[in-house]
Assembly symmetry: C2
Homo-oligomer: 144 residues x 2
């Protein structure tokens, strides 16, 4: 269960937008430079975040990206879900018809429990709460 760079980079980018909330749009080339990611790859990640309604893009000169909501209204679970997909993918947890014994299967209950547990953690964390934690050091740009 490896965390993809898609999710790691994407969340780093969103955190940088949160850090600059209310300072106007931030351009991808800026984020790319700070985070050591290519602009082109970032574009694709932002497209995902955009279609999830987390960010919006402004074209043209002086354009860039902004958060659609304030950092205290965006949960880590929102970002994680669209970038990474379901926390733990086992077909039978999502699709009751996948297996004839779904309603009795014991292991399925384990995967479902894990899924819920992780979602609870991610839902309890907002971008703002993460920023607040980091303020003293301001080391936001570096690695996730």
């Amino acid at each position: 269960m490896k965390l993809s760079t898609r999710t790691r980079y994407g969340i780093r980018a969103v955190l940088e937008l949160a850090e600059n909330y209310n300072s106007g749009p931030i351009q991808l080339k800026t984020i790319a430079r700070h985070q050591g990611i290519s602009v082109k790859y970032l574009e694709q990640l932002m497209a995902i975040l955009k279609s999830a309604g987390i960010v919006s893009g402004l074209r043209g000169s002086k354009g860039g990206y902004i958060l659609t909501k304030s950092p205290d209204q965006i949960r880590l679970s929102d970002c994680f879900n669209c970038l990474e997909g379901p926390v733990i993918t086992v077909e039978c947890v999502e699709n009751n018809n996948f297996c004839p014994r779904t309603c009795d299967c014991i292991a399925r209950t384990v995967w479902a429990e894990i899924q819920k547990t992780v979602m609870d953690v991610l839902q309890s964390i907002t971008l703002q709460s993460l920023l607040d934690k980091s303020k003293p050091n301001e080391n936001l740009h570096y690695q996730i």
Copy 2:
């Protein structure tokens, strides 16, 4: 974060061994038939479980596999760890030297928290506790 067939099949196999604990060695061809997995692939999964000390193999005619400990002494976390690896793989969580800002990084603390949360769930579940749950229906063979 998809769960690999390696883990799903491996845990199914271990559960079948648990189900037959004290009935002598169970052969891979039997498990393979019940679970709809090839013997050859199962061999590789059992090799992993064997090197983790969870099962042991007995060669030759009338051979097969047995659990090295009773089902109430084997935790799901033991099986999961060796089959799937760390719950959530982010280099910096395992390796403090991966990133220069490890000690301050906020996102790292999130991944670490999730890792711990999931491990707590897996550690709280033994093979026996799963068997006890399923006894009434005996649907152990089917899909995980």
